[in-house]
């Protein structure tokens, strides 16, 4: 493991057992989050983003199972830890903000109670913990934080609830924050407010962020490094400029092309990616994207490409950019 990385995932494969058989939701996923960096994960629905973050904190639903691979966090393998060891990391060293603020807080406990509860590791009395909670709420921009500490989640708007969720996640000053589409449920003007707040807090605390989103604009604005996922695989990773200015994988190229915000010229015919996301129960033999790729050639349909490129730098899983061994 590279010591400058907070999180390093190597060869992670995850399966779900369902009525339709075993679904390989993640296959051979590599990902690294350097200390102090914001890493964005982009991908469309069903690409395995959520499965990946649930594997990191080891909260996969009961029918999911890690088949192979390792997840190293600050030097130790998370997959090899006992449950109490893992619990001591959750919420303290790694914390999470989830997608829908309306359902991610307990509805019958006041936010003060919830924020005090998550500080159970600290040896402080309750009033000190409450004071810390107020400070944190102020930092994320909750007006009248002290007066509202005993309010319940339903008394806050969606944007406020997401701020509270961020405050809770950053309370313990974790070294890694996993943000799972934290602004998808919010309106555009609120989205901007919250992203900026997140950026400020990240800079002042110096933590790393793993930021999951399908919104390319947000990724481009916020992240330093970007990982592109498709059908349960990492198809490309690199710096934000690599990905947006020099995309190598045809999927990445198409995805960026498809974003209507990208197009300077107004056009009535939008670019699209024809075809459908592959069915996990019947994966193609070759490249996962071959069925929809406009550049696919013979080899693509029967040989899966490897993730290749500069080590630790810009890499793509494509036969076009990686001619393969022996050539």
């Amino acid at each position: 493991m590279n010591p400058s990385n907070v999180l390093e995932i190597k060869g992670l494969s995850v399966e779900f057992s369902t009525e339709r058989g075993r679904l390989p939701a993640l296959r051979n996923v590599d990902l690294a989050v350097p200390a102090g960096a914001i890493v964005g994960v982009v991908g469309e629905s069903g690409c395995g983003k959520s499965t990946m973050i649930h594997s990191i904190v080891r909260l996969l639903s009961p029918n999911g199972r890690v088949v192979s691979g390792s997840i190293h966090f600050e030097g130790s393998d998370l997959l090899g830890m006992t449950e109490p060891e893992m619990r001591s990391i959750r919420g303290d060293r790694i914390s999470m903000v989830s997608q829908d603020p309306m359902i991610s807080l307990n509805p019958v406990l006041s936010i003060g109670t919830q924020m005090v509860d998550i500080q159970y590791r600290e040896k402080l009395d309750k009033s000190r913990k409450r004071a810390r909670a107020v400070t944190m709420l102020q930092r994320v921009g909750i007006p009248d934080a002290a007066e509202r500490l005993d309010d319940y989640p339903h008394q806050f708007s969606g944007g406020m609830r997401q701020r509270i969720a961020i405050a809770m996640a950053l309370q313990a000053e974790p070294s890694l924050l996993i943000a799972d589409e934290p602004t998808t449920a919010l309106d555009a003007t609120l989205e901007v407010q919250i992203i900026h707040r997140l950026q400020e807090l990240q800079q002042s605390m110096g933590c790393s962020i793993l930021f999951i989103s399908h919104h390319l604009g947000v990724i481009a604005e916020l992240c330093d490094l970007v990982v592109v996922m498709y059908g349960g695989e990492v198809v490309e990773n690199g710096t934000v400029r690599d990905i947006f200015h020099r995309p190598m994988h045809p999927y990445t190229q198409k995805l960026i092309e498809c974003d209507p915000a990208r197009m300077v010229e107004i056009t009535r015919v939008q670019p699209t990616i024809p075809g459908e996301v592959p069915d996990l129960a019947r994966l193609p033999a070759g490249c996962i994207f071959s069925g929809r790729c406009h550049l696919a050639f013979g080899k693509c349909h029967d040989q899966p490409p490897a993730l290749a490129g500069q080590d630790g730098g810009h890499r793509a899983r494509c036969h076009l950019t990686d001619p393969g061994p022996g050539t």
Binding site: T189, H196, H215, I256, C258, P260, Q270, E276
Partner: protein
């Protein structure tokens, strides 16, 4: 150009409490204005985009156009004929000329019906049951680019994009003059969004329909609409030609909304107008210009006086004391 659809001063009020409850709580006017004083026109063959954040009243406005919500004031004219206060049978005849698409691609299809039944339904409802329905169903599926054997499937067996195509097919089944599309791209992946937008564009070219698009996605509006309107707290704060508004937004809210749209380019430098606070509740509308508590450019008169609507050339109008 002759307007196909004309809205004048439309106001839709919703009851917030029952009469007895309001009386108990001492509220004299237990209503909110979900839509207030909205006037707009859509010409034949034109695409109009209605933009706004959640709670801005854009969906309510669309529902009043298709007759699901009855406006309390104002008039809605379709091909010059007044729709408000129309008899039920006249309203039904009018519905033949308007196709509707709802937000949820799968949820807006009746779950226990096959696609075939769903597509044949408009014909049956409007007394065209003796048409060759199988032929019509195949024609519609073909038109929206779906394989004919989809007709035996049920809505939950479709992907979001496919269900959306069925929604489009239903909307155009009776050759309408106007399509009202509420968030046509909601819940779809970027790569599929384009397909639906292209489909709408193609159909518009072939059939010459007008489209009213309701969305929060500015990118969609920018590419497919001719004119657009921006709603805030139930009012239309700015409207005009789409190019014009994107080039030079005049209302500060429009400006904030446009700049809140992050570009997929790490080097794009955005002069962002950031708003304070959150959208106020409809029950407590701010005084004066209703945007002033959040407006970064607000000055003294903004808090007291309601701004008049001004026009800035080419039917570009905005409702602000100090337009940009």
């Amino acid at each position: 150009m002759k307007p196909l659809l004309e809205l004048e001063n439309v106001r839709v009020r919703f009851r917030t409490r029952s009469a007895t409850r309001a009386w108990l709580a001492g509220i004299r006017d237990p209503f909110v204005d979900a839509v207030h004083g909205v006037s707009l026109q859509i010409a034949e063959g034109q695409t109009y985009g209605l933009v706004g954040e959640s709670g801005s009243g854009k969906t309510t406005l669309a529902r009043s156009v298709i007759g699901l919500v009855r406006p309390n004031e104002g008039s809605i004219r379709f091909e010059g004929r007044e729709l408000t206060g129309m008899s039920a049978s006249d309203a039904n005849r009018f519905r033949r000329h308007v196709g509707t698409m709802f937000q949820d691609p799968v949820g807006s299809l009746s779950p226990r019906m096959t696609i075939r039944t769903l597509l044949a339904e408009p014909f049956k409802i409007h007394g065209l049951g003796n048409a060759d329905l199988d032929h019509e169903v195949r024609r519609l599926l073909d038109l929206v680019g779906l394989n004919p054997n989809f007709s035996n499937r049920y809505p939950h067996q479709l992907s979001g994009g496919q269900a959306r195509r069925v929604g489009v097919a239903r909307a155009i089944a009776l050759n309408p003059r106007l399509i009202v599309a509420d968030e046509p791209t909601a819940g779809l992946d970027v790569s599929v969004q384009g397909e639906i937008l292209n489909l709408l564009g193609k159909l518009q070219e072939e059939l010459g329909v007008s489209i009213l698009v309701i969305t929060h996605n500015l990118n969609v509006v920018r590419h497919i609409t001719d004119r657009m309107g921006i709603m805030y707290l139930g009012r239309l704060v700015e409207q005009g030609p789409t190019r014009e508004i994107f080039r030079q937004p005049r209302h500060p809210y429009t400006l904030a909304l446009l700049s809140a749209n992050p570009e997929p380019d790490p080097d794009a430098r955005i002069n962002r107008v950031e708003l304070h606070g959150e959208v106020p509740s409809l029950i407590n509308r701010p005084s004066g210009c209703e945007f002033h508590p959040r407006c970064p450019f607000a000055r003294k008169p903004c808090a007291d006086e309601f701004p008049v609507t001004r026009t800035g050339g080419d039917h570009h109008s905005f409702c602000c004391h100090y337009p940009r």
